[in-house]
Symmetry: D2
Subunit: 257 residues, 4 copies
């Protein structure tokens, strides 16, 4: 193995996202798939034996935290796409990283991303940056009709980021003279209205609308296929190596300067 190739292990390799990740790593320049790890395997031993520099976890909420600690103890960086991380579980990873990285310049990193879709992450990031410059802001998310929750986590997250940016800038609430028919006005997420459309044929889409007198800015992202997450996963694998400590959100490894 040449020194410029990063050996990568995938935990949850038999799952849909895991399998797609294995395929993407195998095709990627500069990355080499060295282990496919699944339920029943000893994650720590498997990572260590494979010589992986980075391990990607696409498993389930019940095991992802334990996997990350095992990956770190095995000396590898971790990229995590599994959901279910709360404040407490993140704190325990930070403590573990602090312990391992103490006195090291080039310590281990963990990157947890709720969303690896570049278009979704960019849309959210741009929406947060634009928010302070518009009088009105609303979010419409559109998904396939098998989705059980509304609005989507991405839309909630986007609306919360918009609300926080508006608050920071001292903006008043978006103007709204509605007196009747509030049920048509969507969910209220920190004061930002979020609408959920469910339509056969769609996959996962988000549209963020900003308005001032005489102008509108619309940011829309469409995810048609889970293949669309792979550029983000590969970027995370490449970037986690030089980024010791915990990073939450793919937006922090994007170069948006």
């Amino acid at each position: 193995m040449s020194s410029s190739v990063v050996p990568v292990a995938v935990v949850g390799a038999a799952g849909r996202m895991g399998a797609t990740t294995c395929a993407a790593v195998e095709e990627a320049d500069g990355l080499e798939l060295v282990a496919r790890i699944d339920a029943g395997d000893d994650v720590g031993a498997a990572v260590r034996d494979s010589g992986a520099l980075v391990a990607v976890d696409f498993t389930v909420p019940a095991v992802t935290e334990a996997n990350v600690h095992a990956i770190l103890d095995a000396g590898a960086h971790a990229v995590v796409g599994t959901t279910g991380w709360d404040e407490a579980s993140r704190s325990r990873v930070v403590e573990h990283l602090d312990r391992l990285n103490a006195g090291r310049e080039d310590g281990l990193g963990v990157l947890i991303a709720p969303n690896f879709g570049l278009s979704a992450v960019l849309a959210m990031t741009f929406a947060a940056k634009a928010a302070r410059y518009f009088e009105s802001a609303e979010v419409v998310e559109l998904h396939h009709p098998n989705k059980v929750d509304a609005p989507s986590g991405t839309a909630r997250h986007t609306a919360a980021a918009i609300a926080a940016a508006r608050a920071d800038a001292g903006l008043a609430p978006s103007p709204d003279a509605t007196e009747s028919g509030w049920e048509a006005r969507g969910a209220d997420v920190d004061g930002v209205r979020v609408h959920a459309v469910r339509l056969r044929g769609l996959v996962a889409h988000e549209e963020i609308l900003f308005g001032n007198v005489g102008e509108q800015l619309t940011i829309r992202q469409d995810s048609f296929d889970r293949a669309s997450f792979m550029p983000g996963v590969l970027l995370a694998v490449r970037e986690v190596v030089g980024r010791p400590g915990l990073t939450v959100g793919l937006e922090h490894v994007l170069d948006l300067t």
Copy 2:
């Protein structure tokens, strides 16, 4: 006055829509503005004295029905853009027309249109026609934030027409697995979800979304200015002359064959 020019009176000529109509009639080929009638005027006498063949009513719900009866008694056709017409008031106009038109081949006509926007009327009409061919349908309306009711009358009307077409075709309800977060799923109009967005800078807009496996049809209309209603008003003025009896809805005078 040449026989090919239609003399037109405008009732409510000092109001915003009335004034815009006066200007549009004055500029239109084949039409001549012969009377500007307002509150305080005797509508019947004014229409009769002007020699108007068609009178356009843009007044207020409280007086529009009386105006129409006066216009008919003065021997003119009526085009009505004022809202507030219910089943009973429409029936009284039908009776009046039946009485006046009995035994005449080329009787008087009344055209009541809740919306003179061609793009809005076409969008609604096409949506109703398309509805039977799609598994899913939802409506999003977007307006300026000073609007007090939600969803808009146009969106309600569109959703009801879609629902009726789906019922006629024996379609099942649009699929929807939502278990939580119903407040983000919009208002339920006869089983069709309707979402209302309020944004500074917008005027009046409607987007109708249809979905099947692997495909989507979207019909959108934007009204930026009340000037956009004038082509529809002029079309109604021209068409009402050859159309005895009551017609409700501009779509009935459009040639969509």
Copy 3:
């Protein structure tokens, strides 16, 4: 076989569209797949032996006309999705049908459809109907970047239909003050500007834009997957039986009244 079930043969059953059609027929209520016919088979004999009432042809331009004549001689109706039909080949089918159907009330039918996507056909049909009511009209089609021709056949067809409707209504050309930069103004199809966007991640999409003073109407259709053509193919199979003679275009079997 019950009298209410239509036996269907698929010619070109091993191709992508043919195979998708076979699967769709097998799952459809009221239809039964009775033959999968491919290159090398005697189409006429295979259709006759199968007892098919309708045969669907998804083959190649070089053989589709011969296939249709063989299907008709075998006593079956034909639904054709293969491209490459010109005026002359259509005339020969009409002559054949006239000969076969002479003196019969319930003769054979052939339905040739360049596009079975309901959203695409509806978009085109609505665009043609709307065209006479707007001062400006343009078409934007968006496809995957592997497409070799521009603009798409669907977009050309749509623009030509818009142009014809405008001409019928006596409309002047869409206003356009462009003095420099014509290369950005798209292709001219009978006076209607057509723009072609090529973007990784897209499949086949079309957006038709109409504008008047103060208003806009937009009709957009998205095809994400060839599965989206199946509702149109099944509709054609069901409708061709009661429709003797040649029909070109799925729009003629849609109920748009």
Copy 4:
């Protein structure tokens, strides 16, 4: 005048943009309109006599450079919305500023902005940032049909910024298999395709499309009215005071971190 209120002069006060600016300054918190200056006036003397801290220039290309030098000599900062600045004219302003500001910590500033629309500037800025993350990128601009040039300056600028970002990131050209019909593929601006739509009823709009396998990001901005430029003009007036030297582009005074 309280020390916290900024006195503002408007040069070209009788023009459309100038008059709108005067009205906006008069209504703005913290700003005071102290001079309306027009053709025939001595700009330098008028600015000096008014005590303006900032002068806004909305004039014509032939006089804007001379106006800026006069404003600087009168001791005021300048905000410039007039077009027609080339490399040489900008250099002369830089030299003038260097001379005036030498040895001063809090020197004079000039802000030249080709576009004061926040939505337009944000769309361009976000597009440039997103560009490196997508395989495909195209630009569609849509304007009223009285526009004489195509594509718009904003669209050219956006495409050039996308092209530069793609080059920096080492991206290959956007994939494009087009073999015929290039006239539908838009103008080529540094390798990025730009399409220009002209439609009655529109004002000024831009849509930037990015695509990867399985995903799309769309950034769209709509300018309906020149009132939409005022938030950007007022922001420029407030920000130029603390920003010595020449700044080109409103994006540099936006807080997008």
